[in-house]
Amino acid sequence: MESRTGRLFKWAFLATLFFSVSCAVPLKPPIFLSPGFEFTSIDRIVVLPAVDLRVEKKINVNLDKQITGATEKIIRNKGYRTSLGNTMGEVGAVIEEDLKDAKPEWIKRLGPPDARWVMVVCLIDVATTLTFGSTGNAEVSGYMYDKETGVMVWKDKGIGQAGQGGLAGMLMKGLMDEEAIGSAMGNLLASVPKRK
């Protein structure tokens, strides 16, 4: 006969199991993943300076902290060795088309010469709106290249929305862009699996 404590433990175990399964964040499929590419083959990811591709640049964004720094931190927390590349390399000013349709010669000139896996994150848009409350929207895109072979291995998009209604929300307008960017960054890098 099962004791009362035993039953209690069983139910507690089942509840914990159910809770952990329901809270587990599923890996988001990226927009593009090179066939045959395995994240386990990466030894170190060099995060290059973020690229500001916004049409409207009214909102001041600390790209180093909010994009480059955040990328490096999230990737590091997933178990990858990371470093910050302070230069875009010999490619000059970067536009979206360069990143999307990157040619092998261009990829090989991207970032520091000794880096192999390089990641670039771009800020596509960030906007805040004041209504009876305030909202923030952000859109980012990320690309990872293998400089050795000159191919794009990963590409994804992240969007983030933030907002709060009422007077309190109106007062928080200045924070909405940061919150939206933070959310977009999390969404973008959700398709990079944890390194075991």
Binding site: I31, V55, E56, K57, K58, I95, E97, D125, A127, T129, L130, T131, F132, G133, T135, N137, E139, K157, I159, Q161, A162, G163, Q164, G165, G166, L167, A168, G169, M170
Partner: protein, 221 residues
Amino acid sequence: MFITKRYWLILALAVIGFFCACTTAPITTAPSVRPATEIHPDTRILILQPLLRFEEIRTEAVLPESENQGPAFKDRLLSWAKKEVETRAYKVAEPESLDTAILDPACDQLNPFSNKLARGIVPEEAKSFLNSIASLDENLAILAQYLRVKVGPGGFWNQYTGEIHSTMSTMLLDVALISCRDGRVLWTNEVLLRNLVYPDNKEFLESLRLAYKTLLRKKEG
């Protein structure tokens, strides 16, 4: 008395909120556009078929033009461009007046590059097609238009938590005038509309007006 005061306070806040909502401008012109330059008075402008791209913002999946009023957007862009060009006293080059055996294939091959051309980027691959058009008339310049529509999550309000979101959909219109003779970018502009609207919507028409606002009037020789 207390209720009346509270009523006025709520009303005042609602008015402020409404005012703020109404003053948020959804249309933005890019500050990075090329400054307007004088265009040679003999220039004839060939308006290319606009390139449209409808995509889902999260996945970049292309959405069908036909289900998003693509033909109506194209007609609106073409007619507006013609009107703006003629208003500034430039001659519009009608395709029928040119040798279509050369013009049609060149335009067809230029069309996929419209996303770059409309932003003032002339790829090397496009230069030979521009030269083909220039062989018909060296004063020809092409007007490229690119409309990129990103369809994203719409507005949202959670009445229990007070959480609100505004729409993420945007429409970005790029226009550029490029000399066929040397591939020089004569003029370009970019307008971002933070909304998803129909071709006859007044916000879209205002975006078109803003897009051509910086195109200078022809200088009379």
